[in-house]
């Protein structure tokens, strides 16, 4: 315990290009880029599948199937296979981001799809009856009603990406995982456990922030049922 404390309170460990602040910045950088890319692909696709009802089997199986793929193995294969072709600075970064995006898409896709699918058909019919065009129904009724599940999908993906981002250090990238990998290499348990503590706190904080944002964005009328529906569809992330 004292080893962690000594490591954490040393100002030298917080500043500089390999300090905690810089590593935290890198970690959040990878995570946000990944989440943004995954959301750009996953949300529209999920909405489309939910709206049209096409390809739902694909979504369900994809979300379940990806869970069984060992992240670490996928990351290593991507770096070994793609890395040499890309070369330079991109050799590690691009494969890692690609893997992170691939892992983040299924929960986002499943959230968007399940959200639209869970919309009460009566609400959809009412909107149609009022003369709304399909796109209007989607934008004015389906998306707002689906927001709770869209958010829980994003939240799962964010946690997944933060957890998997820790592994990126093992393929020579930055981020908070560096403290774990470097600490192990130098047999410095204080650094390892200190880094681990920071990652754990970051993950919990991000989860709480997502929960708070979800509460403010989602219409109050939808709040009470949301937790129950989210429970049923079980959009849990893997801790990677």
């Amino acid at each position: 315990m004292s080893a962690i404390w000594r490591w954490l309170v040393d100002p030298a460990h917080w500043l500089g290009s390999d300090g905690i602040f810089a590593r935290l910045g890198e970690h959040l950088g990878y995570a946000s880029v990944t989440l943004l890319l995954a959301a750009l692909i996953g949300i529209p696709l999920g909405l489309w599948i939910g709206h049209t009802g096409r390809g739902r089997l694909v979504v369900v199986n994809l979300a379940n199937g990806m869970r069984s793929v060992p992240t670490l193995g996928l990351l290593f294969v991507a770096v070994l296979v793609l890395g040499p072709r890309l070369g330079g600075d991109l050799a590690f970064l691009a494969p890692a981001i690609i893997v992170l995006v691939i892992l983040a898409i299924p929960p986002i896709l499943a959230g968007a799809y399940a959200g639209v699918e869970s919309v009460d058909p009566a609400a959809r019919d009412a909107a149609r009856g009022m003369g709304m065009r399909p796109l209007e129904v989607l934008a004015k009724v389906e998306v707002p009603c689906a927001l709770p599940l869209i958010f829980s999908g994003l939240r799962s993906a964010a946690l997944q990406v933060i957890a998997t981002g820790t592994l990126a250090a093992s393929v020579s990238l930055g981020g908070l995982g560096r403290f774990l990998i470097d600490g192990q290499a130098y047999r410095d348990y204080g650094q390892m456990a200190g880094g681990a503590l920071l990652v754990a706190v970051l993950a919990v904080l991000v989860d709480l922030i997502f929960a708070a944002v979800q509460r403010t964005v989602v219409s109050p009328g939808l709040q009470p049922t949301t937790s129950r529906r989210a429970t049923r569809t079980r959009l849990v992330p893997d801790p990677a």
Binding site: A163, V171, V204, P239
Partner: protein, 214 residues
């Protein structure tokens, strides 16, 4: 393929360790989650703290949890016990909510009928409520089993030997074959565990219609 055939016994040994590291926490987690899930279901005021509290533990990335375990347990960093306890924590985190949901899915009339027939609370729980909750609990257990198999492999970064060691060894030697073998072995193990739980759930609930997915 050639690499795999030449290293059958090595892969087999790692697979056995991997299976133990994934399955033991699953059983520990299930044993702990049943009483906790019952508490969460029985006492409304306990639901939020139990489900949210255990859920928060689930957000902690596995690598971080593996490293922090020695602090809590007083074990060495390389001790496989860290992995077993950390995965038990994840399993409990997933299953408390599932068990509570499963118990909530038991129709009230059934519970009332059992009570009216004079079945005591304890016997009612084990012979009526728990068996009827099996399909929901099994669904959660399948998720936990599959994710456990994948998460165990991360422990290879700390030097704990199992199928994940094929990833780290392959990566260190710039050699893709062992990594691919490791991925396929992991996915096969996950699939087998998933099937075992599915079959066990079907056997335990003969009243469920065949062909319906859990």
């Amino acid at each position: 393929m050639t690499w795999f055939l030449g290293h059958l016994s090595q892969v087999g040994g790692l697979l056995a360790t991997h299976t133990a590291l994934a399955v033991i926490p699953l059983l520990i987690g299930l044993l702990l989650a049943v009483p906790l899930g019952w508490l969460a279901h029985r006492y409304r005021w306990l639901t939020a703290p139990l489900v949210a509290g255990t859920g928060l533990l689930y957000t902690i990335p596995s690598l971080a949890l593996f490293v922090l375990m020695p602090l809590v347990l007083g074990t060495g960093i390389l001790d496989p016990i860290n992995v077993v306890i950390a995965l038990s924590v994840y399993t409990v985190a997933l299953l408390v909510r599932t068990v509570a949901d499963g118990l909530a899915s038991v129709p009230d009339e059934v519970v009332q009928a059992a009570t009216a027939m004079g079945v005591g609370p304890l016997r009612r729980f084990f012979t009526v409520e728990l068996p009827l909750a099996v399909p929901v609990i099994a669904a959660g257990l399948r998720v936990a089993a599959v994710s456990n198999v994948s998460v165990v492999s991360v422990a290879a970064l700390l030097g704990i030997s199992q199928l994940g060691s094929l990833f780290t060894d392959g990566f260190a030697r710039d050699f893709v074959d062992p990594i691919v073998v490791g991925i396929v072995a992991c996915m096969t193990l996950a699939l087998v565990l998933d099937l075992v739980i599915l079959v066990a759930s079907r056997v335990l609930t003969p009243w469920q219609q065949r062909g319906r997915t859990a």
